[in-house]
């Protein structure tokens, strides 16, 4: 196969992402863990203690 042809069949970066189940798993855990769980817990931890 020529170099030009091999370039033609190279999958797009987005397709590579969609074909990588383990990377999708990582993203699917990391995004809600940061924006929902950790940020939410941070809010609660930072509630001032009543004096």
């Amino acid at each position: 196969m020529s170099e030009a042809n091999s370039r033609d069949v190279k999958p797009h970066a987005m397709q590579k992402l969609l074909d990588n189940n383990w990377l999708l798993l990582l993203l699917g855990i990391a995004v809600p863990a940061v924006f929902y769980t950790l940020w939410g817990l941070w809010d609660v931890i930072n509630i001032p203690i009543a004096k």
Partner: protein, 569 residues
Amino acid sequence: MTTTTLSEFRTDPVSGLKVNRTANTLVKWNAFAAVVFLLVGGIFGLGVALTRMPSVQLLSPEFFYLALTAHGLINLAVWIIFFEMAVLYFLGAHVLSNRLATPRWAWAQFWLMLVGAAMVAVAVLGGNSSVMMTSYVPLTAEPHFYLGLILFAVGALIGCFVFLGTLVVAKREKTYNGSLPLVVFGGVTATVIAVFTIVSGALILIPTFLWSVGLINHIDPMMYRIIWWGFGHSSQQINVVTHISIWYLIASLVFGAKPMSEKVSRGAFLLYILFLQLGSAHHLLSDPGLTSAWKVFNTSYMIYLAVLASMIHGLTVPGSIEVAQRKKGLDTGLFTWLRKAPWGNPIFSGMFLSLVGFGFIGGITGVVMSVEQINMIIHNTMYLPGHFHGTLVAGTTMAFMAVTYWLIPVVFQRKLALAGVAKLQPYVFSLGAWVFSIALMGAGTMGVQRRHSDITFAGQPLAYQYPEIAKGLMDMGEIFAVIMTVGAIMFIVVVLASIFTGERIAEDSAPWPKVADADVVFEKSGKKHIGIGGMEAPGTFVLAMILFATIVLYYFINFKYLSTVWGMS
């Protein structure tokens, strides 16, 4: 080196799929357990419905909370997750002509989930664990209630990794080329969300179990709510993704349809993976400890990216059906393709009713109630059960029922029994679910509280009189809950009759006729174009515009109502 031999597979005469026998047995047992739990949970649900009916009030308050706990856990978690395990094994093995990666672990999944569900059931029926599905601390249940939930969740987690491992096997043994089929990619999406869900569940249920046996002194209720809803709401997002995958599957099975754009549909699933789980925040919009930035970012910004994904699926599934129908000759007018669809086939009618019910009832109301201001009107009211019966019953459960009618001949190798009952079932069930949901949301908008056995507050020191119309809506809703139950019983009777008495389909019987591929039919027809005015799916475009208009109108109605609640003068 694999020890798989050809005798482990059979070629299914109904679908043409190469079926691994071990995987098939696991699909059967998970699906069968799911249907049995649907029946058990449904009986408790009927008890809840007939108690919430002001004119009936069937159960005592004590038994009402027991029944509500059992109904919530069994129907929201057990029935649905058992069925999802069946779907995942089906997608990983049957659709990919593949074997299961680790059947022993798959059996461990089944037994752990079964034992866990049984432990929870024993705890709830014992009467000392009526803490409802949310089991908010400091409400205390028996330790085996939490332990049962943990075992159930661990079982489901094992099932997820068996599915992911099965995909590795399929890739290594080259049972498919290129990217995964779209429906299997939907399964991957559901699995990713499931792993986050189950890890969240473990993070909060393990310490709660330790608290229930006295090894931990205190669990902060606000922290509990945050982490629990990462489990509780995300578990329902697994359902959404699974039933959308089923929509794509049924469009392909019944019409020989292909997605309008695989790339766009996969992109929509990616949006789900990234953003759908953030919707859990809409349960916490009234919690004082969380900042508005957190609430608004999660519900009013990020969740709209997941809503966009739902709209894409809601457009492409009927769009693909329209394109297939037009390619097969139904290319006149706006809605001929829909009018002449096989409405007597419960696989299609169930799927399409699921799509419409989920979009117009569950979907729109879910989006609108995620707005922080509007949420204040309906928080903790009957609106919530109305909304999630729109998503989980009218949407998910209806889709699962529809695909079951196809799975019975393929997986159980039996012809569908009581075909006349099956034909009617989606209509009866959807009618009940739709009106029930809408009526409860109406009552909730008038302030009727959820989680209370008696909306008249008879004998209570702080009595409150709801408008008579609210009581009427509750009565009407619960009458339709009975109709919904009749629809569910029809489904269960058809499934059990088919499995135990249906005509057996021999393995060597002649292949069943296949649905023609729409593209092949179109190519043979010699036509060049379909659709109207350059649009291939104009009917679907009109339906999508109706959905958009309904969302906008519904927003305005709710903000108008909010303005009357907070009068300014």
